[in-house]
Protein backbone atom coordinates (compact mmCIF):
# COMPACT_ATOMS: atom_id res chain seq x y z
CA UNK A 1 0.00 0.00 0.00
CA UNK A 2 2.45 2.64 -1.15
CA UNK A 3 1.31 6.09 -0.24
CA UNK A 4 1.68 8.85 -2.75
CA UNK A 5 1.77 12.55 -2.02
CA UNK A 6 -1.59 13.01 -3.64
CA UNK A 7 -3.35 10.87 -1.06
CA UNK A 8 -2.91 13.53 1.58
CA UNK A 9 -2.30 12.73 5.19
CA UNK A 10 -5.60 11.52 6.51
CA UNK A 11 -5.54 8.31 8.48
CA UNK A 12 -5.43 5.27 6.25
CA UNK A 13 -6.64 1.83 7.36
CA UNK A 14 -3.69 -0.11 6.08
CA UNK A 15 -2.51 -3.58 6.93
CA UNK A 16 0.19 -2.14 9.13
CA UNK A 17 -2.39 -0.32 11.20
CA UNK A 18 -4.53 -3.42 11.58
CA UNK A 19 -1.50 -5.38 12.72
CA UNK A 20 -0.67 -2.65 15.17
CA UNK A 21 -4.16 -2.79 16.63
CA UNK A 22 -4.17 -6.57 17.00
CA UNK A 23 -0.65 -6.66 18.39
CA UNK A 24 -1.40 -4.00 20.96
CA UNK A 25 -4.54 -5.87 21.99
CA UNK A 26 -2.73 -9.17 22.48
CA UNK A 27 0.16 -7.61 24.34
CA UNK A 28 -2.16 -5.75 26.62
CA UNK A 29 -4.15 -8.92 27.32
CA UNK A 30 -0.99 -10.69 28.38
CA UNK A 31 -0.27 -7.91 30.84
CA UNK A 32 -3.80 -8.14 32.18
CA UNK A 33 -3.29 -11.89 32.64
CA UNK A 34 -0.40 -11.20 34.98
CA UNK A 35 -2.59 -8.97 37.10
CA UNK A 36 -5.41 -11.51 37.08
CA UNK A 37 -3.05 -14.31 38.09
CA UNK A 38 -1.83 -12.34 41.08
CA UNK A 39 -5.37 -11.39 41.98
CA UNK A 40 -6.55 -14.99 41.77
CA UNK A 41 -3.67 -16.11 43.93
CA UNK A 42 -4.55 -13.60 46.62
CA UNK A 43 -8.23 -14.39 46.40
CA UNK A 44 -8.01 -18.17 46.57
CA UNK A 45 -5.40 -18.24 49.28
CA UNK A 46 -7.29 -15.70 51.33
CA UNK A 47 -10.46 -17.71 51.01
CA UNK A 48 -8.94 -21.06 51.82
CA UNK A 49 -6.58 -19.56 54.33
CA UNK A 50 -9.31 -18.06 56.45
CA UNK A 51 -11.47 -21.16 56.52
CA UNK A 52 -9.72 -22.08 59.75
CA UNK A 53 -11.35 -19.07 61.32
CA UNK A 54 -14.63 -18.92 59.47
CA UNK A 55 -15.49 -22.60 59.13
CA UNK A 56 -13.61 -24.28 61.95
CA UNK A 57 -14.03 -21.36 64.33
CA UNK A 58 -10.48 -21.35 65.54
CA UNK A 59 -9.42 -17.99 66.85
CA UNK A 60 -6.70 -16.18 64.97
CA UNK A 61 -5.10 -15.43 68.30
CA UNK A 62 -4.69 -19.12 69.04
CA UNK A 63 -3.42 -19.79 65.54
CA UNK A 64 -0.75 -17.14 65.75
CA UNK A 65 0.36 -17.35 69.34
CA UNK A 66 -0.23 -20.79 70.74
CA UNK A 67 2.78 -23.09 70.83
CA UNK A 68 0.64 -26.19 70.94
CA UNK A 69 0.24 -27.73 67.52
CA UNK A 70 -2.30 -30.47 67.84
CA UNK A 71 -4.68 -30.42 64.87
CA UNK A 72 -6.48 -33.58 65.94
CA UNK A 73 -7.32 -31.90 69.20
CA UNK A 74 -8.46 -28.78 67.35
CA UNK A 75 -5.47 -26.82 68.60
CA UNK A 76 -3.52 -25.65 65.54
CA UNK A 77 -1.21 -23.23 67.24
CA UNK A 78 1.49 -22.20 64.80
CA UNK A 79 3.74 -20.19 67.05
CA UNK A 80 6.42 -22.87 66.75
CA UNK A 81 6.59 -22.51 63.02
CA UNK A 82 6.41 -18.74 63.06
CA UNK A 83 9.24 -18.52 65.54
CA UNK A 84 11.14 -21.16 63.60
CA UNK A 85 10.81 -19.24 60.36
CA UNK A 86 11.76 -15.96 61.96
CA UNK A 87 14.77 -17.45 63.73
CA UNK A 88 16.33 -19.13 60.75
CA UNK A 89 15.67 -16.09 58.59
CA UNK A 90 17.21 -13.81 61.16
CA UNK A 91 20.34 -15.89 61.50
CA UNK A 92 20.58 -16.40 57.77
CA UNK A 93 20.47 -12.68 57.09
CA UNK A 94 22.86 -11.89 59.91
CA UNK A 95 25.41 -14.26 58.40
CA UNK A 96 24.60 -13.97 54.73
CA UNK A 97 23.72 -10.28 54.64
CA UNK A 98 27.08 -8.70 55.52
CA UNK A 99 28.92 -11.47 53.72
CA UNK A 100 26.92 -10.93 50.55
CA UNK A 101 27.23 -7.15 50.74
CA UNK A 102 30.97 -7.50 51.25
CA UNK A 103 31.33 -9.59 48.11
CA UNK A 104 29.03 -7.24 46.23
CA UNK A 105 31.17 -4.29 47.30
CA UNK A 106 34.25 -6.19 46.29
CA UNK A 107 32.92 -6.93 42.81
CA UNK A 108 31.76 -3.39 42.23
CA UNK A 109 34.79 -1.53 43.56
CA UNK A 110 37.90 -3.58 44.01
CA UNK A 111 37.95 -6.62 41.78
CA UNK A 112 39.93 -6.59 38.55
CA UNK A 113 37.94 -7.03 35.36
CA UNK A 114 38.99 -10.59 34.76
CA UNK A 115 38.09 -11.70 38.23
CA UNK A 116 34.65 -10.21 37.88
CA UNK A 117 34.16 -12.03 34.59
CA UNK A 118 35.04 -15.25 36.36
CA UNK A 119 32.78 -14.61 39.32
CA UNK A 120 29.72 -13.79 37.27
CA UNK A 121 29.19 -17.25 35.77
CA UNK A 122 30.14 -18.76 39.12
CA UNK A 123 27.36 -16.83 40.82
CA UNK A 124 24.98 -17.81 38.06
CA UNK A 125 25.75 -21.46 38.70
CA UNK A 126 25.23 -20.96 42.44
CA UNK A 127 21.84 -19.45 41.70
CA UNK A 128 20.99 -22.27 39.37
CA UNK A 129 21.74 -25.07 41.82
CA UNK A 130 18.32 -26.39 42.81
CA UNK A 131 17.30 -25.97 46.43
CA UNK A 132 16.98 -29.71 46.87
CA UNK A 133 20.65 -30.07 46.07
CA UNK A 134 21.52 -27.45 48.67
CA UNK A 135 19.35 -29.36 51.09
CA UNK A 136 21.01 -32.58 50.18
CA UNK A 137 24.48 -31.06 50.64
CA UNK A 138 23.30 -29.77 53.98
CA UNK A 139 22.00 -33.19 54.89
CA UNK A 140 25.02 -35.20 53.86
CA UNK A 141 27.83 -32.75 54.58
CA UNK A 142 26.78 -30.10 57.06
CA UNK A 143 24.67 -32.10 59.48
CA UNK A 144 27.35 -34.73 60.16
CA UNK A 145 29.84 -31.90 60.55
CA UNK A 146 27.72 -30.21 63.18
CA UNK A 147 27.19 -33.56 64.79
CA UNK A 148 30.91 -34.17 65.23
CA UNK A 149 31.63 -30.61 66.30
CA UNK A 150 28.91 -30.24 68.87
CA UNK A 151 27.69 -33.66 69.85
CA UNK A 152 24.07 -32.97 69.04
CA UNK A 153 22.38 -34.92 66.29
CA UNK A 154 23.20 -32.20 63.82
CA UNK A 155 19.71 -31.26 62.72
CA UNK A 156 18.24 -27.98 63.82
CA UNK A 157 18.35 -24.21 63.64
CA UNK A 158 22.05 -23.90 63.01
CA UNK A 159 22.11 -26.26 60.06
CA UNK A 160 19.08 -24.56 58.52
CA UNK A 161 20.47 -21.09 59.09
CA UNK A 162 23.79 -21.95 57.51
CA UNK A 163 22.20 -23.58 54.48
CA UNK A 164 19.89 -20.59 54.05
CA UNK A 165 22.67 -18.05 54.33
CA UNK A 166 24.53 -19.81 51.53
CA UNK A 167 21.40 -19.85 49.42
CA UNK A 168 20.66 -16.17 49.75
CA UNK A 169 24.25 -15.17 48.99
CA UNK A 170 23.88 -14.86 45.23
CA UNK A 171 20.78 -12.67 45.59
CA UNK A 172 22.43 -10.35 48.08
CA UNK A 173 25.70 -10.24 46.15
CA UNK A 174 24.12 -9.33 42.82
CA UNK A 175 21.80 -6.70 44.24
CA UNK A 176 24.54 -5.12 46.36
CA UNK A 177 26.82 -4.97 43.37
CA UNK A 178 24.09 -3.27 41.35
CA UNK A 179 23.43 -0.83 44.17
CA UNK A 180 27.07 0.23 44.32
CA UNK A 181 27.43 0.47 40.59
CA UNK A 182 24.52 2.89 40.61
CA UNK A 183 26.40 5.36 42.79
CA UNK A 184 27.71 8.13 40.51
CA UNK A 185 31.42 8.20 39.80
CA UNK A 186 31.55 11.82 40.88
CA UNK A 187 31.30 10.73 44.50
CA UNK A 188 34.11 8.22 44.11
CA UNK A 189 36.39 10.67 42.41
CA UNK A 190 35.54 13.45 44.82
CA UNK A 191 36.42 11.35 47.82
CA UNK A 192 39.65 9.95 46.40
CA UNK A 193 40.69 13.41 45.27
CA UNK A 194 40.58 14.53 48.89
CA UNK A 195 43.13 11.95 49.86
CA UNK A 196 40.85 9.25 51.21
CA UNK A 197 41.95 5.66 50.84
CA UNK A 198 39.92 3.21 48.82
CA UNK A 199 38.43 1.60 51.89
CA UNK A 200 37.53 4.96 53.45
CA UNK A 201 35.78 5.94 50.27
CA UNK A 202 33.82 2.72 50.26
CA UNK A 203 32.97 2.69 53.94
CA UNK A 204 32.22 6.36 54.51
CA UNK A 205 30.87 7.55 51.19
CA UNK A 206 29.78 4.81 48.83
CA UNK A 207 27.99 2.45 51.17
CA UNK A 208 25.87 5.21 52.71
CA UNK A 209 25.14 6.54 49.24
CA UNK A 210 24.05 3.09 48.10
CA UNK A 211 21.97 2.72 51.27
CA UNK A 212 18.59 2.18 49.71
CA UNK A 213 19.90 -0.27 47.13
CA UNK A 214 21.62 -2.28 49.85
CA UNK A 215 18.43 -2.17 51.87
CA UNK A 216 16.61 -3.70 48.93
CA UNK A 217 19.30 -6.38 48.67
CA UNK A 218 18.77 -7.32 52.31
CA UNK A 219 14.98 -7.27 52.08
CA UNK A 220 14.96 -9.51 49.03
CA UNK A 221 17.45 -11.80 50.72
CA UNK A 222 14.98 -12.06 53.61
CA UNK A 223 12.16 -12.78 51.16
CA UNK A 224 14.17 -15.60 49.65
CA UNK A 225 15.00 -17.05 53.04
CA UNK A 226 11.50 -16.96 54.43
CA UNK A 227 10.03 -18.81 51.50
CA UNK A 228 12.69 -21.47 51.14
CA UNK A 229 11.20 -24.87 51.77
CA UNK A 230 13.01 -27.97 50.68
CA UNK A 231 16.54 -27.20 51.67
CA UNK A 232 15.43 -26.16 55.12
CA UNK A 233 13.11 -29.11 55.53
CA UNK A 234 15.86 -31.63 55.06
CA UNK A 235 18.08 -30.26 57.82
CA UNK A 236 15.90 -28.59 60.37
CA UNK A 237 14.77 -31.69 62.19
CA UNK A 238 11.03 -31.22 61.78
CA UNK A 239 10.09 -31.25 65.42
CA UNK A 240 7.01 -29.23 66.26
CA UNK A 241 8.58 -27.69 69.33
CA UNK A 242 9.83 -24.22 70.03
CA UNK A 243 13.55 -23.90 69.50
CA UNK A 244 15.50 -23.64 72.74
CA UNK A 245 18.89 -23.00 71.29
CA UNK A 246 20.85 -22.97 68.10
CA UNK A 247 21.12 -26.70 68.03
CA UNK A 248 17.55 -27.67 68.76
CA UNK A 249 15.49 -29.31 66.09
CA UNK A 250 12.45 -27.30 65.16
CA UNK A 251 10.28 -26.48 62.19
CA UNK A 252 9.33 -23.53 60.00
CA UNK A 253 6.15 -22.50 58.23
CA UNK A 254 7.09 -23.82 54.77
CA UNK A 255 8.57 -27.04 56.12
CA UNK A 256 5.49 -27.83 58.13
CA UNK A 257 3.31 -27.28 55.10
CA UNK A 258 5.33 -29.56 52.91
CA UNK A 259 5.53 -32.33 55.48
CA UNK A 260 1.93 -32.53 56.57
CA UNK A 261 0.07 -31.59 53.41
CA UNK A 262 0.36 -35.08 52.06
CA UNK A 263 -1.64 -36.55 54.88
CA UNK A 264 -4.14 -33.76 55.17
CA UNK A 265 -7.65 -34.63 54.08
CA UNK A 266 -9.35 -32.06 51.95
CA UNK A 267 -11.62 -30.04 54.19
CA UNK A 268 -10.02 -31.16 57.43
CA UNK A 269 -8.83 -28.82 60.14
CA UNK A 270 -5.25 -29.71 59.42
CA UNK A 271 -5.63 -28.78 55.78
CA UNK A 272 -7.19 -25.46 56.70
CA UNK A 273 -4.44 -24.78 59.17
CA UNK A 274 -1.80 -25.46 56.55
CA UNK A 275 -3.50 -23.11 54.13
CA UNK A 276 -3.62 -20.46 56.81
CA UNK A 277 0.11 -20.86 57.16
CA UNK A 278 0.50 -20.48 53.42
CA UNK A 279 -1.65 -17.37 53.48
CA UNK A 280 0.49 -15.99 56.28
CA UNK A 281 3.58 -16.57 54.17
CA UNK A 282 1.92 -14.77 51.30
CA UNK A 283 1.10 -11.79 53.48
CA UNK A 284 4.68 -11.65 54.71
CA UNK A 285 5.91 -11.71 51.10
CA UNK A 286 3.62 -8.84 50.14
CA UNK A 287 4.75 -6.90 53.17
CA UNK A 288 8.33 -7.30 52.04
CA UNK A 289 7.43 -6.03 48.57
CA UNK A 290 5.87 -2.95 50.11
CA UNK A 291 8.99 -2.54 52.25
CA UNK A 292 11.11 -2.59 49.10
CA UNK A 293 8.93 0.05 47.47
CA UNK A 294 9.08 2.15 50.59
CA UNK A 295 12.88 1.96 50.73
CA UNK A 296 13.18 2.83 47.05
CA UNK A 297 10.96 5.86 47.42
CA UNK A 298 12.90 7.20 50.34
CA UNK A 299 16.14 7.61 48.47
CA UNK A 300 17.17 11.26 48.39
Amino acid sequence: MAVTAASGIRAVASRAHRQEFVAKLLLRSASIFVVVAMGALLLYLATEGTKLFTVDHVSPFQFLFSPVFDPDGRKPGSLVFIIGSLSITLFAIVIGGPFGIAVGVFLAELAPRRFVNMMKPAIEVLVGIPSVVYGWIGLTLLVPLIRTLTGSNGFGLMAAAIVLSVMILPTVITLSEDALKAVPDALREGSLAMGATRWQTIWRVLIPAAGSGLGVAVILGIARAIGETLAVQLVIGNASVLPTGLLSATAALPTEIVIDMAGAQQGSLLEHALFSMAFLLLLIAMLLILAVRFVMRRRT
Binding site: V3, A5, G8, I9, R10, S14, R15
Partner: protein
Amino acid sequence: MVEIPGAVTVKVDVEDLNVYYGAFHAMKNAQLRVSERRVTALIGPSGCGKSTFLRALNRMHDLTPGARVTGSVSLDGMNIYDPSVDPVVVRHRIGMVFQRPNPFPKTIFENAVYGPRVHGEGNRAKLMAIAEKSLRRAALWDEVKDRLFKSALDLSGGQQQRLCIARVLAVEPEVILMDEPASALDPIATSKIEDLIGELKRDYTVIIVTHSMQQAARISDRTAFFLLGELIEVGTTSDIFTRPTDKRTEDYITGRYG
Protein backbone atom coordinates in the same frame (compact mmCIF):
# COMPACT_ATOMS: atom_id res chain seq x y z
CA MET B 1 9.88 37.78 11.35
CA VAL B 2 8.15 36.63 8.17
CA GLU B 3 9.34 37.50 4.68
CA ILE B 4 7.32 37.61 1.49
CA PRO B 5 8.10 34.35 -0.29
CA GLY B 6 7.99 35.79 -3.77
CA ALA B 7 7.69 33.23 -6.54
CA VAL B 8 8.48 30.30 -4.29
CA THR B 9 5.65 28.37 -2.65
CA VAL B 10 5.45 27.68 1.07
CA LYS B 11 5.84 23.97 1.74
CA VAL B 12 5.73 23.91 5.52
CA ASP B 13 3.98 26.58 7.54
CA VAL B 14 4.61 26.67 11.29
CA GLU B 15 2.25 28.79 13.38
CA ASP B 16 2.25 29.38 17.15
CA LEU B 17 4.30 26.30 17.82
CA ASN B 18 4.86 25.54 21.50
CA VAL B 19 6.59 22.43 22.85
CA TYR B 20 6.54 21.40 26.50
CA TYR B 21 8.56 18.63 28.14
CA GLY B 22 6.47 18.18 31.24
CA ALA B 23 6.52 21.61 32.83
CA PHE B 24 9.51 22.82 30.87
CA HIS B 25 8.57 25.20 28.03
CA ALA B 26 11.10 24.20 25.41
CA MET B 27 9.78 26.08 22.36
CA LYS B 28 7.88 29.33 22.66
CA ASN B 29 5.49 30.58 19.99
CA ALA B 30 7.55 29.85 16.92
CA GLN B 31 6.39 31.00 13.47
CA LEU B 32 8.17 29.93 10.34
CA ARG B 33 7.41 29.54 6.66
CA VAL B 34 9.64 27.08 4.88
CA SER B 35 10.01 27.53 1.13
CA GLU B 36 9.72 24.60 -1.21
CA ARG B 37 12.87 23.20 -2.74
CA ARG B 38 15.14 25.35 -0.66
CA VAL B 39 17.55 24.56 2.11
CA THR B 40 16.54 26.23 5.37
CA ALA B 41 19.11 26.15 8.17
CA LEU B 42 18.23 26.35 11.88
CA ILE B 43 21.10 27.76 13.91
CA GLY B 44 21.69 28.80 17.50
CA PRO B 45 23.76 27.89 20.60
CA SER B 46 23.38 24.54 22.39
CA GLY B 47 20.09 24.11 24.14
CA CYS B 48 18.33 26.81 22.14
CA GLY B 49 15.62 24.43 20.98
CA LYS B 50 16.47 24.00 17.32
CA SER B 51 16.30 20.20 17.54
CA THR B 52 13.07 20.45 19.51
CA PHE B 53 11.65 22.60 16.72
CA LEU B 54 12.81 20.19 14.04
CA ARG B 55 11.29 17.18 15.76
CA ALA B 56 7.96 18.89 15.91
CA LEU B 57 7.87 18.94 12.15
CA ASN B 58 7.43 15.20 11.75
CA ARG B 59 5.62 14.51 15.01
CA MET B 60 8.60 12.82 16.63
CA HIS B 61 7.49 14.26 19.96
CA ASP B 62 4.63 11.76 19.88
CA LEU B 63 7.21 9.20 20.87
CA THR B 64 8.43 11.09 23.93
CA PRO B 65 6.34 10.47 27.01
CA GLY B 66 5.50 13.74 28.71
CA ALA B 67 6.02 15.90 25.62
CA ARG B 68 3.23 18.19 24.53
CA VAL B 69 2.90 20.19 21.31
CA THR B 70 0.46 23.02 20.64
CA GLY B 71 0.02 25.19 17.57
CA SER B 72 0.05 24.01 13.99
CA VAL B 73 2.49 22.68 11.45
CA SER B 74 0.94 22.69 7.99
CA LEU B 75 2.20 20.62 5.10
CA ASP B 76 0.77 21.92 1.82
CA GLY B 77 -1.90 23.66 3.84
CA MET B 78 -2.96 20.70 5.99
CA ASN B 79 -2.10 20.72 9.71
CA ILE B 80 -0.19 17.56 10.60
CA TYR B 81 -1.35 17.82 14.21
CA ASP B 82 -4.99 17.62 13.26
CA PRO B 83 -6.59 14.67 15.13
CA SER B 84 -7.66 13.01 11.90
CA VAL B 85 -4.12 12.89 10.61
CA ASP B 86 -2.07 9.70 10.74
CA PRO B 87 1.47 10.33 12.00
CA VAL B 88 2.68 7.31 10.04
CA VAL B 89 1.65 8.96 6.78
CA VAL B 90 3.15 12.27 7.87
CA ARG B 91 6.47 10.52 8.25
CA HIS B 92 6.23 9.12 4.71
CA ARG B 93 6.16 12.64 3.42
CA ILE B 94 8.51 14.26 5.90
CA GLY B 95 11.65 12.21 6.46
CA MET B 96 14.39 12.61 9.04
CA VAL B 97 18.13 12.04 9.16
CA PHE B 98 19.68 11.91 12.61
CA GLN B 99 22.84 13.29 14.13
CA ARG B 100 24.60 9.99 14.66
CA PRO B 101 24.35 7.63 11.69
CA ASN B 102 22.02 4.87 12.82
CA PRO B 103 21.74 2.18 10.15
CA PHE B 104 19.87 -0.87 11.32
CA PRO B 105 21.89 -4.02 12.09
CA LYS B 106 20.94 -5.48 8.75
CA THR B 107 22.39 -5.58 5.25
CA ILE B 108 22.87 -2.43 3.21
CA PHE B 109 20.09 -3.54 0.92
CA GLU B 110 17.68 -4.18 3.80
CA ASN B 111 18.43 -0.77 5.23
CA ALA B 112 17.77 0.95 1.95
CA VAL B 113 14.44 -0.78 1.35
CA TYR B 114 13.20 -0.75 4.96
CA GLY B 115 10.81 2.15 4.35
CA PRO B 116 9.10 0.68 1.26
CA ARG B 117 8.94 -2.72 2.98
CA VAL B 118 7.01 -1.45 5.96
CA HIS B 119 4.69 0.37 3.61
CA GLY B 120 3.80 -2.94 2.02
CA GLU B 121 6.08 -3.23 -0.98
CA GLY B 122 7.14 -6.86 -1.31
CA ASN B 123 8.13 -7.27 -4.93
CA ARG B 124 11.80 -8.11 -5.04
CA ALA B 125 12.48 -6.53 -8.41
CA LYS B 126 10.79 -3.30 -7.43
CA LEU B 127 12.73 -3.19 -4.16
CA MET B 128 16.02 -3.64 -6.00
CA ALA B 129 15.10 -0.77 -8.30
CA ILE B 130 14.17 1.43 -5.36
CA ALA B 131 17.41 0.55 -3.59
CA GLU B 132 19.52 1.42 -6.60
CA LYS B 133 17.69 4.67 -7.22
CA SER B 134 17.96 5.83 -3.61
CA LEU B 135 21.57 4.81 -3.25
CA ARG B 136 22.48 6.62 -6.43
CA ARG B 137 20.72 9.76 -5.29
CA ALA B 138 22.58 9.57 -2.00
CA ALA B 139 25.86 9.32 -3.91
CA LEU B 140 26.58 5.94 -2.36
CA TRP B 141 25.74 3.46 -5.12
CA ASP B 142 29.18 3.14 -6.62
CA GLU B 143 30.74 2.44 -3.27
CA VAL B 144 28.34 -0.29 -2.20
CA LYS B 145 26.92 -1.84 -5.35
CA ASP B 146 29.16 -4.87 -4.96
CA ARG B 147 28.35 -5.48 -1.35
CA LEU B 148 24.69 -4.77 -1.01
CA PHE B 149 24.16 -7.86 1.08
CA LYS B 150 26.90 -7.21 3.58
CA SER B 151 26.21 -5.70 6.95
CA ALA B 152 25.59 -1.98 6.96
CA LEU B 153 27.57 -1.73 10.18
CA ASP B 154 30.79 -2.39 8.28
CA LEU B 155 30.58 0.93 6.44
CA SER B 156 32.49 4.02 7.50
CA GLY B 157 30.71 6.79 9.41
CA GLY B 158 30.26 8.95 6.34
CA GLN B 159 28.99 6.05 4.27
CA GLN B 160 26.57 5.05 7.03
CA GLN B 161 25.16 8.53 7.09
CA ARG B 162 24.68 8.54 3.33
CA LEU B 163 22.98 5.18 3.71
CA CYS B 164 20.63 6.76 6.24
CA ILE B 165 19.91 9.48 3.71
CA ALA B 166 19.27 6.85 1.02
CA ARG B 167 16.96 5.14 3.46
CA VAL B 168 14.92 8.31 3.78
CA LEU B 169 14.94 8.95 0.03
CA ALA B 170 13.53 5.49 -0.61
CA VAL B 171 10.17 6.44 0.87
CA GLU B 172 9.97 9.36 -1.58
CA PRO B 173 9.36 12.15 0.91
CA GLU B 174 8.86 15.74 -0.06
CA VAL B 175 10.58 17.27 2.93
CA ILE B 176 13.82 16.07 4.49
CA LEU B 177 14.66 17.06 8.06
CA MET B 178 18.31 16.80 9.06
CA ASP B 179 19.46 17.07 12.65
CA GLU B 180 23.16 18.01 12.54
CA PRO B 181 23.80 15.25 9.99
CA ALA B 182 27.53 15.83 9.65
CA SER B 183 28.50 16.66 13.22
CA ALA B 184 29.72 13.13 13.91
CA LEU B 185 31.75 12.93 10.70
CA ASP B 186 35.23 13.92 9.60
CA PRO B 187 35.75 16.93 7.27
CA ILE B 188 35.95 14.92 4.06
CA ALA B 189 32.76 13.01 4.82
CA THR B 190 31.16 16.28 5.86
CA SER B 191 31.88 17.97 2.59
CA LYS B 192 30.44 14.98 0.73
CA ILE B 193 27.24 15.33 2.73
CA GLU B 194 27.14 19.05 2.03
CA ASP B 195 27.55 18.45 -1.71
CA LEU B 196 24.75 15.93 -1.49
CA ILE B 197 22.46 18.43 0.20
CA GLY B 198 23.16 20.86 -2.61
CA GLU B 199 21.95 18.22 -5.07
CA LEU B 200 18.96 17.15 -3.01
CA LYS B 201 17.45 20.60 -2.89
CA ARG B 202 16.60 20.34 -6.54
CA ASP B 203 13.87 17.84 -5.70
CA TYR B 204 13.27 18.12 -1.97
CA THR B 205 12.64 20.72 0.68
CA VAL B 206 15.47 20.46 3.18
CA ILE B 207 15.44 21.78 6.74
CA ILE B 208 18.75 21.31 8.51
CA VAL B 209 19.79 21.95 12.10
CA THR B 210 23.44 22.86 12.37
CA HIS B 211 25.70 24.09 15.11
CA SER B 212 28.18 25.35 12.54
CA MET B 213 27.49 28.83 11.21
CA GLN B 214 29.96 28.26 8.43
CA GLN B 215 28.03 25.22 7.29
CA ALA B 216 24.79 27.19 7.33
CA ALA B 217 26.43 29.91 5.29
CA ARG B 218 27.77 27.37 2.82
CA ILE B 219 24.72 25.36 2.03
CA SER B 220 21.50 27.12 3.01
CA ASP B 221 19.24 29.55 1.22
CA ARG B 222 17.42 30.74 4.28
CA THR B 223 18.45 30.72 7.91
CA ALA B 224 16.51 30.86 11.17
CA PHE B 225 18.20 31.80 14.45
CA PHE B 226 17.00 30.30 17.73
CA LEU B 227 17.87 31.29 21.28
CA LEU B 228 16.58 29.88 24.58
CA GLY B 229 13.49 28.31 23.06
CA GLU B 230 12.53 31.25 20.88
CA LEU B 231 12.81 31.81 17.17
CA ILE B 232 14.53 35.18 17.10
CA GLU B 233 14.99 35.96 13.45
CA VAL B 234 14.62 34.39 10.02
CA GLY B 235 15.66 35.57 6.58
CA THR B 236 17.81 34.79 3.57
CA THR B 237 21.15 33.41 4.62
CA SER B 238 23.13 36.34 3.29
CA ASP B 239 20.86 38.80 5.10
CA ILE B 240 21.15 36.98 8.39
CA PHE B 241 24.89 36.79 8.25
CA THR B 242 25.63 40.24 6.90
CA ARG B 243 22.78 42.44 8.11
CA PRO B 244 21.02 40.79 11.03
CA THR B 245 18.12 42.85 12.40
CA ASP B 246 18.13 41.62 15.98
CA LYS B 247 21.02 42.37 18.33
CA ARG B 248 20.96 38.83 19.72
CA THR B 249 21.44 37.40 16.24
CA GLU B 250 24.33 39.72 15.66
CA ASP B 251 25.95 38.71 18.95
CA TYR B 252 25.73 35.05 17.99
CA ILE B 253 27.04 35.60 14.47
CA THR B 254 30.00 37.56 15.72
CA GLY B 255 30.88 34.93 18.23
CA ARG B 256 29.88 36.61 21.46
CA TYR B 257 28.60 33.25 22.68
CA GLY B 258 28.93 29.71 21.37
